[in-house]
Amino acid sequence: MSVETDFLRIQGSVAPWVSGSRTAENRLDMDTSAERLVPAVTALRSLSWGYLSAITGFDSGTAAPSDGHIELLYHFCNGPAVATFRVKVPREDPSVPSIGPLVPSAVMYERELAETMGVKVAGLPKKRQFLSDDWPENVYPLRKDFTMESAAATREVGPAVGSEEAPGTFIIPIGPQHPALKEPGHFELAVDGEIVTHADIRLGYVHRGIEKGAEDRSWVHNIYLMERICGICSHIHATAYVLGVESLSGVAVPPRAQTVRTIFCEMERIHSHLLWLGVAAHQAGFDTLFMYSWRDRETIMDLLEELSGNRVNYSVNLLGGVKYDIDGKAADSVRRGLDFLERRTTHYLKIVTTDESFLRRTRGVGAITFDQANLLGTIGPTARASGVSRDLRVEAPYMAYRDFPVRPVLDSRCDLEARFVVRINELFESYRLIREMLDHMPAGELAVPAPRKVPEGEVISRVEAPRGELFYYIRSTGGVKPDRVKVRTPSLCNWAAVLSVAVGHKLADIPMIMVGIDPCFSCNDRSITLRRRGSAESWSWEDLRAYGISYYAGGGA
């Protein structure tokens, strides 16, 4: 069914709750209000169309010509099509109902809105007490009138609030400093014996405030910042950003530049998947595979360095093109590297599908069924390992993927083994794509000039990162800096699924299940809430620290 007929169908079924709607290429914008949001979303869900991809909020500010509203955009995506509900709420009292009961994955995004925009989301599940750490009250960083001075104030963290868990439940806290992952995240696992009965996660240790930072930097300067959202998928972030900005400015990027960008995207996918394979094997206690895959990963790191001069942040993109060319000599060394990696990858595929002890950690473990994956809005290889075909390179080809079609890699076994198999098979697909692109590289320019100021407007830019769909919403008011850059990264979507499937598993399987979605904290740490749990006799951090210092000063040392 074409996108247009889909949009007509949607417009028909949500019509009673929508005051106006506009369509553009692959975009459908529908104006609704806070009161009518829930029935409108219900109507959309009843069509079984798409999944909630992101909720963007932006503050129009108080200066004229603005009318002092906060606008909330609920983006639902299906393949190339994006249907957006737009809700305007007054700045003084921004409140909307939660759509969490209809769309479970919305809760993460709504919490983020509540914390960074100060939107009151009625009905946001409040099973637990969420308190901001020492972040001052009524200070919302993404509001336009936010100042660093207002954030400098600290809020007294009150006494620990009573915990709500049933008596007799044992909670195992893990992290944020822990040996399992290289990044900080805090997990709380309630266990009954060996079995996990409840899993929760606390994010925000690497929340840096990049979305706000982007508003203070020029369009060009932001390429540098966006690359540093994540050190693993740096290129794809910059790519999503420049594709969005180029589309706003109406710059046509030469085909050779698009192909170079695409080659880097695929090389980044190779390095990311090999990295994940090693880390995941390490979680299973299979350090030999970890060391082998990281040794082989150096091949692709060498190639990236040869092409761009950098191992990690390649800095390939410009507004309007790329900085580096791939000439015949470089292409030959890429081909040689890929030949070697292909042989190694065949070996890895054999290991993860035949090694008996490894299979006992992966086969039948951590299953996310097709329905769960669909409902909870999983994306990327995690979704594809549950048979949910979500791959923007296939469904909405961009850049050189239009000329070099990607074959989707799917697996319907839903368990951890399937997640290994899908990622490894995607490696083969990447090798094939890169070879084809190198063989049929379009001739021509590497870059065209792009204007310093970007015309007024908004754009949604979606690309397929190694971990799944990466969503950028960029809004310009015609100046030298963006008005709003919203980034929704793939790991954030997959947490909901992983936390729900963790329940019922043995504690020992949890690290494998967590790592199965290839979590990346640096890009998904958005919320700044802190959950305080404890009872009257619990110690505060200051007490503990004082005790620790006196203990070591007196007795130990």
Binding site: D133, P179, V206, R208, Y224, R228, I232, S234, Y552
Partner: protein, 173 residues
């Protein structure tokens, strides 16, 4: 030595035992890694440094999980508002003498994130740092060089600033 941990042992033996302790520390420093807001680039390069190509383990360096077993804290990233107390806590859990290597531009100045609202500063603002490794991210060779410089420094004696720093932290913040 920064601080002798040999209470109750005859003074004559202490010097010899301290020498043994220093010798073993230099030949097998154990690392604990903490990311206080990094983009992951440095963390992955640290891991690559420990992987077979660069093999930091040939210097006797071992990455392990608990700060209580570690001699060296290897830090990445600027310090975010939330990670600050965890960074302090990790540092304070380490037995003395302890050493800090800060990896990456962000850990030196805040780097690309300087000025973002959730950044409270760089690593040096929170805990005393012995060796800085610049780069965004630094190459594995640079990280190795940083660790080797630390080991060289250890041969010379105590970590810089550590006693005053402990007093500062003990005073609360």
């Amino acid at each position: 030595m920064a601080q002798s941990t040999l209470k109750g042992i005859p003074r004559a033996l202490r010097g010899a035992l301290d020498k043994v302790a220093l010798w073993s520390r230099i030949n097998s420093p154990w690392l604990v890694h903490f990311n206080s807001g990094s983009c992951n680039g440095c963390d992955i390069e640290i891991l690559a440094t420990l992987a077979p190509r660069y093999d930091l383990e040939r210097f006797g360096v071992k990455l392990q999980g608990s700060p209580r077993h570690a001699d060296v804290l290897i830090c990445t990233g600027p310090v975010t508002r939330l990670a600050r107390e965890r960074l302090l806590r990790t540092y304070e859990q380490m037995p003395v003498p302890k050493f800090v290597v800060a990896v990456g531009s962000c850990s030196i100045t805040g780097g690309a994130f300087h000025g973002c609202y959730n950044i409270v500063g760089d690593i040096g603002d929170v805990i005393p740092v012995d060796v800085y490794v610049p780069g965004c991210p630094p190459r594995p060779e640079a990280i190795i060089d940083g660790v080797v410089q630390l080991l060289t420094k250890l041969k010379g004696g105590a970590p810089a600033k550590a006693p005053e720093a402990d007093a500062r932290l003990g005073g609360g913040s």
